[in-house]
Symmetry: D2
Subunit: 140 residues, 4 copies
C-alpha cells in the first residue's frame, strides 16, 4: 500500500460566488483523505486520539491547477511524504473522476503530541504505526 484513495462529491456549501470550490475547503478534503489513509493501515485517527496521540497541523500548502465545481466526483489520493520520530508530512492529489485531471496538489505537516500538547515520539508511543507509515513513504 503506497497511497490511499478517497472518493467524494463536491458540496454546494463548498462553492463560493466565483462558481468554484472555495480554496480553504481543499484542506478539509485532505483531512478526509488522511483519515482514510490511516484507516487503510488498520488504524483510525479517532483511535489514535483516544490512545493519547494527537497530530496537530503545523504547516499546510496547496497548489490549485484547475477549479473543482459543484457536484464534481473527485478522488483524493494521500501518501506519506516524510516521517521522523517527532513529525510527519502527507502529500495529496485531487483528481477529477470524469477525465482524470489533477485539480490540486498539496501537503500537510503534523507534529506528534500527547493530550496535553507535549511533543512525543511516535516510534516510542506506537512503534507498529510508525513502521506502517515508513512502509508508505512515496519515493519521488
Amino acid at each position: 500500500m503506497k497511497f490511499s484513495e478517497s472518493r467524494l462529491r463536491v458540496r454546494y456549501a463548498e462553492t463560493d460566488q466565483m462558481g468554484i470550490v472555495y480554496h480553504a475547503n481543499y484542506y478539509v478534503w485532505f483531512e478526509v483523505a488522511r483519515a482514510d489513509l490511516l484507516r487503510s493501515l488498520g488504524m483510525t485517527y479517532k483511535d489514535m486520539e483516544q490512545q493519547g496521540i494527537i497530530m496537530p497541523v503545523i504547516e499546510t500548502r496547496c497548489r490549485y491547477k484547475l477549479p473543482a465545481m459543484y457536484d464534481d466526483a473527485l478522488t483524493i489520493r494521500a501518501a506519506v511524504k516524510e516521517l521522523s520520530y517527532a513529525k510527519m508530512a502527507f502529500s495529496y492529489t485531487v483528481v477529477r473522476d470524469t477525465d482524470g485531471s489533477v485539480l490540486a496538489e498539496g501537503e500537510t505537516y503534523h507534529a506528534f503530541t500527547n493530550n496535553n500538547k507535549k511533543p512525543l515520539s511516535l516510534k516510542k508511543a506506537m512503534p507498529s504505526l510508525y513502521e506502517l507509515f515508513q512502509g508508505c513513504i512515496m519515493e519521488a
Copy 2:
C-alpha cells in the same frame, strides 16, 4: 439591556455559487451574536464553559427573507426569547446596514449541561446569570 447588536461583514467563504450567503452560515452569525449578548451582560461563553456550564444546541430555526451578499455590512440583533431552569432560547434578527432591511430571523434553543453532558439547572449553577437572562426576555 433588552438585546445586543453585533456588527460583521460577509466573508467570501460564506457565499456559494448562487452568489449569496449559504444558508447554514447564518447560524454561525447567530453564535457570534449570542456570544456578544453574553458579553454585554458581563459574562463570556468561554468563561461559562470553563466554569462547567455548557449550552448545547437542541433546536435551530431560520427564515430567510432577502439574501445577504458578499461584503455586506450586517448587524445581528440577539435577545433572550425563553428561559427556564433547564433550557433557554435566543432570537435573532439579521439586518443589512445600508438600508435597514431585515434579511433573516431565527431562533436557537439550548439546554444547560455540565462538562459530562448531564443536565443542570442554571438557576442553581449560576443564579446571577439566570437573573440577568431573565431581565433580557423580550416581550412579544
Copy 3:
C-alpha cells in the same frame, strides 16, 4: 421511491471544541441528502440550475437529539414533505449507523426561481420533475 439515503462520515472539520459536530453543519448534510434525493429521481440539482431553475432556501429547522461525533458513519434520509407550484419542503433524518439512533431531524423550505431570482412555477417549468416530487411526498 419515498425517500433517499445518503451515507457520510463525520469530518474533523465539522466538530467543535464541545467534542461534537457543530450544529450548523447538519444543514450541509441536509444539502447532500437533498441532492441525492434528486439524483435518485434521475435529476441533479446541478442540471436544474443549468436549466435555469434555482431553489433558494427560505426556511430551515433542525432538532438535535443526540450528538454526532467525529468519524461517525451516518445515514441521512431525505423525503419530500410539501410541494406546491411555487415552493417545496424536504424533511430529513440523521441516523447513526452503528445502532440506528436518530441523532437529528429537520426540514428545509425552498422557493422556485429563475436565474434572476424571479419566482417561477415548477409545474410549468419542469412538469416531469414536479410529478416525480409529487410521487415522493411522505404521508405523516
Copy 4:
C-alpha cells in the same frame, strides 16, 4: 501604507474537537485581511469583481506556531509580497492581541483573470490599482 490590520474574534464554529481553531479556517481570516488591505487602498474586492477583475487563488501556505483558541481576539496583518502583471502574492501574520504572540504566518498567490477565467494583465486592466499594490510591497 505598507500593511493592513484586521481585527477579529475566534468563532466557536471555527474550533474543532482538539479545542483549537481548525487549520483550514486561517485561510478564511487571510481572505478577510486581504479584503481589508484592498479597502485600505480605497478599493474593494467586490468592486474589482464587478469591474470584471477576478483574483482566483493559485497557491496557499500557512505555518502554525501557536494555536488560536475560542474567543481569542486576533489581529491579522496583510501585506503585498509579490506583484507582476499576471499575478500577485499576499503575506499574512496572525497575532494574538493579549500578548502579541505570532500564532501563524502564511501566503496566498493569485492570478488575475476576467469573468470568463481568462488571464489578464492588472497593469492594463486597472493601472491605478497596480501602482497602489506596488507601493505596498514589503521589503524582506
